[in-house]
Symmetry: D3
Subunit: 320 residues, 6 copies
């Protein structure tokens, strides 16, 4: 298993740079798909597994398992994940989208946006990416961008989320909640707000947790998306935040500038123009490298790279 | 302790009728209040205790304890409830409003709308209406109208709530959630929706749980509010619903017609015109009587009466 | 049959004045009604018949026949009108409201707002106010305020209407359309617009035909409603217009000032505050008298009076 | 006269595919045009004639005649169509756009969106594409997407349309209306609705008739547009529907997936990004081929192809 | 000349109390008026003069001079003020409303909301309330609530205003601007904002200067209006602010609670329900008394009283 | 100093044409920039100087000085302009954007959109593009697009501006104001409105002054932007207007068609798609040439050219 990686282009001075062969997953990578984006990956066996948001040609949203040797070339199942009942009586959801995946203790937990009379946070798990179990939704609607921590915090599961409304939510803060058992949730804490327009306009409308945080010397490093409202609708860009290791309710640093903003054609043009939406990372802490997976223009999956130490330093130096 | 009561006026044919001396609590019943409304009462010692929403003259919202011998004449404390920390580290809320009160097992539980970067459901308790303890909020924002069941359901606390947005929410369904410990919540189920306009227009914009349900032969009887959007804003009226005794996720009956709609001047004119908002009942099951407390025009507290058996029958006969 | 009438109060200098015993129909005049308003009357046999909008306590809208000896005291049927199929295969409508009635040639034609996947203009007739027949809707949705002329114009039926949207329409002009057979309609002409705010603000948001026009020396006299948008929603007032006798597409005169605006409590307070909505007149041309029926606050029916010659003169002198 | 045609590309598995030389009409194809799109064609003499929407550089909308030998290369008149009065007194319209053309009996009928104090359905005809006659508008405003059937149904002209509001209408259903004489219209029936978001999101905001239906073994085959509301505004895609031959009020099949969605740069980028808007077809029933003309990005005209039998099969197999 | 005055009612503990004979000017006080409200008064000769907003029955807004011996009973001219050109070429305005009046040096200056392609601040003067001169508008649209200081500040005229938009502005702060000559304005300073909802909800949507400030020991005392957005629209209440004597850009104190909120029927019911809008005061500094004139429900003029020292003390004690 | 220039391409028939090497300033022309657009240039010493809007990667807006030999290749300072206090006590602004520059009498005046609790018009000057002085804001918020005339008109400075609201203003007219001293402003006159949709749709939502006017035989020639609201938001195009030489309050001619509309990829795709926003010209009156600088897609700076005489003729021939 080798981390997907490409060195920084010579002329580039940015702390995060794009893969030159982007997008890595095209909108029609499976026969039924209208678009594939906002997807999550995780090391699995000798390579990688992923959970992909594939909207079909009726623009129904669902999540699909996929596999890759190198994290770049993916084989995505042609059928959506068929969940069995986990800790819930029966499984039903109007739709599923924007998955995240994380390994905790003994299994791979998946969270996503689940349609339950409006969007909320669906929860499921798998041991093998073949059989999947769906559990109770974590929260009441309306919610999006549920992202678990990769280990328990003080003995409890911890999940970030972004309370929303039932449409194209024009507001949005990140909260952190806890659960003793992944079934009942509480101890909700507000941890991150959109910024005042004059301080950092790219994240002034709403923000949402993106990738599963991973532990660094500085604390939990997470990539998140921020949104600005232009006269043509929303524009989504990506920043980074560092949360305290012991008490992740405390955000230690958070980038005032973005790390990536839509500026390539595959990010600027598509089903929804001007969207960069990070959902996962792969990292090699020793090698100091991170690969960031993000949805582009609500149409394709793209990849970016960076050195972890540089990103940490940048986040600290450019904190709000 | 005598249930507040007044017989149905001779000419009245309605299943629920108003107290002729309404409002029972005036907007200036305490020196600092702008308005007193959407308040809850409960039998206590030899009379009644209540938790009252008193907005002050800065129109800051807070909740106050009050006491009454007869359920009609109330002495409301001049200082808001000062919560001590219950199962939470420290107590802080931007505001508190629309309380409900219910006795479960050994104490009086209070739920209300708590400001935590937006409205959500606050939870607290008291043994004596002198010392109060605040616990963890039940849910993430945005939520309103959290109403507990008066006993555990299958060993778990049960609470209805109405997921909302951060403004004058123009939508709203009732959900039911469960908790083993009043701290962590899950098993969220959607139980009641607004109605299609043509079926029952008074409750077509949004609905919210109102009074604490009480057990009858038909199941849990609850009074709730429904809202219609007129060209002058929202109008709030009151209906009733009967939930299954064993599985309150199942709504057995629910009134297509309202039981009360704003038609008295104190309901039609005030800080917010045309509002009837039930928050509590007192009932004498044996005597077949119920007294319903409701906020009127977001300004005062009013009282209505009915025979439980008649209301049950009406709800069944006029169900949606 | 005597025209309902009351002389102008001594102090009153207005060209139209209210009946002192208003409202003439209370909101609970029939057992099931939430409100009775926006209703139409017509001479019938030795007295008067009417078609009344009675919203029931589920706030479902329907129309009911009623009868009166004096035009003031009304007996309204407790059951809504049950239409048989006229020139249409089968009768179905989601709701019916805001009726108008007019006698043409051999029968009483009724028009109203009919729910057909949105509001449009329903058409029906009766010979006796006992048996009613429903015909094809005149127009596609979305439309409201369909008002027929009491005789054919150049051999064709003529109907005013107010194209709308599917909500609380924030715009609205009056059009006039023609039909050879009351089934197929065409020759649509735009005849009246809302006014610029600075010219006549009470009718600057939208206008709608009100009463069935009747012929005078100056042309067709009609009372219509105009709407202004305040920071508390819409306010409805009443004006008059005179349309050319030969070519009613031509509006000859139209009042810049209103004739009636909400200023009595029953017009200012109710289910929708600040509404005056004229739907019918009774007139005695010889006696120079007209009685105007209008809905007040979307809750009750009220009555106003005037001398036709004075109203004509006022309309000409105060025309836009 | 040869049907424009290009075989399906080898790798393509879609039931409808694009012409590789798209767009076939550029935005500046005539000297005065800002954009040319949403246009209609019909077989004429030894080739084809068309009616084109050409917005000029003041972005005034008007319709222009054009001619082609092969249906692909078009000569569009530099002057807009100058209508003479048909069955109407005098011709006036604020603007004209989105034309459709169909031959019925003895002449070519044209329908379009006509400005008459708001958009409604204009109607006109020509025998030779040189002299044009304008008739009465079919309906009251606000309406768009009026599409005639190519023959009378039960002795009457039949027209689909999409009642609208006076702006960027955020709703929209398809109705079917009838006329004995192309002047007076009635018998309006609701035939197609937008879909629930979870069933087929690309057509969940509004839909509108597109091409003139043509008769197949399965019934009338029509291509229509469906719209989804993204956080950047509307996105328009194309589906197909099959209406019952005898009673086209009955929609027999309708595609849950789209047939075409914006995914080429000329569809994704332009005056209005992400628009595919079908307005006409040419078909060779014997050869089983259909050529579909559609506006792209409100800027240019493009062409797509398909086998009729495949489209019918696809529509039946993938029906909602 | 005697200050209008009535002692505080016995039971009343408020710092400001209403005149028991309110409203002092009825909506029909002149023959043409629909409503008279938001008006200003000033000592003049042996009594008082005023400038009154009288909307006529076409709901056109204009300002009228009026006179009173006692400040309570008013004779209002039946014709609006007819301005001659002051420092401006010619006088034209689409409408005039919400006047304020103040004597500075040698004349009475009047400011009001002037229609100049949208609302802005009109300026005029009179020496005798018979002949009036209109000057250049102070500012560009959109602006409302222009209120002059009664003397020059550091040699320059000083005016508060409330930048607005062209509708029912949902935001609004108070600015202070300066002019050497009452013709050219600059040195604009932001001085007061709406409050956060949780701090003082009655003034959380927008605020606007009300009465002309007068000098006290504590500084300039001004009554202003604050607005909250309810689910039925705006509600207007009144507070007080004290500005620094030397540098009125500095707000020293400002009431967190309101001084008056709509709670009498003439304030709660009318053309716009729930409005208290102060526009002027009369004060007797020696006698420590102030009379406050305010518009009620956009329909009538009402009067309230208070002791200046008490109001100062209250403002200081209850400052934000 | 040579005017930047490129001859009209052979096939082009437009009166204004683009530079083939557009954009001339890329979004990342300085290390910190997210985008560089809506910028102004002026002849300076032996070449040109400019003031550039460079949004940084936090999307904070500020203005930067830049220099060029040829007007095409620019060196932009890496630090924003650091203003010293001019006629104002101290300098503070929340943000600065959309600058214009003009030489009057003895110095270069700069106007821009200044954040002062909302956007308004900032004013400053420099003699050398090294030291800059900031003066009092010209107007109250909310305002944008302040453009000075290059000489005094009747002894007074003259500035166009576009009163706005505090968001993505959906309306907007151009006013002209005067000042004796560049500090106090008055004599505000409304000079240009958006057009009715049917007359010139590209400028029907709002308009704003663009480049500094320059004097021609026909009067002051100015390039301005006009905006249309599509279902995907705003689209910005460019027109020209000629103002009377003596009395620039009088607009003599104004183009009904646009001169430039977004049709190149760098205008159609970017941070805000479909924007052409002119902010400056360089002209050689003798040579009859003008170079127009405009922001494209809120991302880059582009350049267009034209012959002044042709533009004048076009504006006269195609006037509204």
């Amino acid at each position: 298993m080798k981390l997907p990686w490409q060195e920084r282009p010579q002329k580039c001075k940015d702390v995060v740079w794009r893969y030159t062969e982007n997008p890595i997953v095209e909108r029609d990578a499976i026969p039924t798909s209208n678009s594939i984006f906002n997807s999550a990956v995780v090391p699995f066996e000798n390579g990688y597994a992923g959970v992909f948001r594939c909207d079909n040609k009726a623009v129904q949203m669902n999540i699909f398992a996929g596999f890759s040797k190198d994290g770049i070339h993916w084989d995505i199942n042609h059928q959506p994940i068929n969940f069995k009942a986990g800790d819930i009586d029966k499984v039903h959801g109007d739709y599923k989208y924007d998955p995240r995946v994380v390994f905790i203790e003994d299994r791979y937990w998946i969270t996503w946006c689940e349609g339950h009379n409006g969007p909320t946070i669906g929860v499921g798990y798998t041991f093998d990416f073949k059989v999947f179990f769906q559990c109770e939704n974590a929260f009441l609607p309306f919610n999006r961008n549920g992202v678990l921590f990769p280990e328990k915090i003080n003995g409890k599961y911890a999940m970030m989320s972004r309370p929303s409304d039932n449409g194209h939510t024009p507001f949005g803060d990140i909260y952190l909640s806890y659960s003793p058992d992944m079934k009942y949730w509480g101890e909700h804490r507000h941890i991150m707000s959109p910024t005042p327009f004059k301080d950092s306009a790219w994240q002034c409308t709403k923000i949402g947790a993106g990738s599963v945080p991973f532990l660094t010397d500085e604390g939990w490093l997470m990539f998140y998306h921020g949104v600005i409202t232009t006269c043509s609708g929303f524009r989504y860009a990506m920043g980074s935040a560092i949360l305290d290791k012991e008490n992740p309710n405390m955000v230690k640093y958070r980038t005032q500038p973005y790390l990536l903003t839509p500026s390539e054609l595959y990010e600027q043009v598509g089903d929804v123009p001007n969207v960069i939406f990070p959902c996962a990372t792969l990292q090699d802490i020793k090698a100091d490298k991170v690969a960031i997976y993000y949805g582009a223009a609500d149409t394709v999956v793209a990849l970016a790279f960076g050195y972890i130490s540089e990103i940490l330093e940048f986040t600290k130096q450019n904190t709000l």
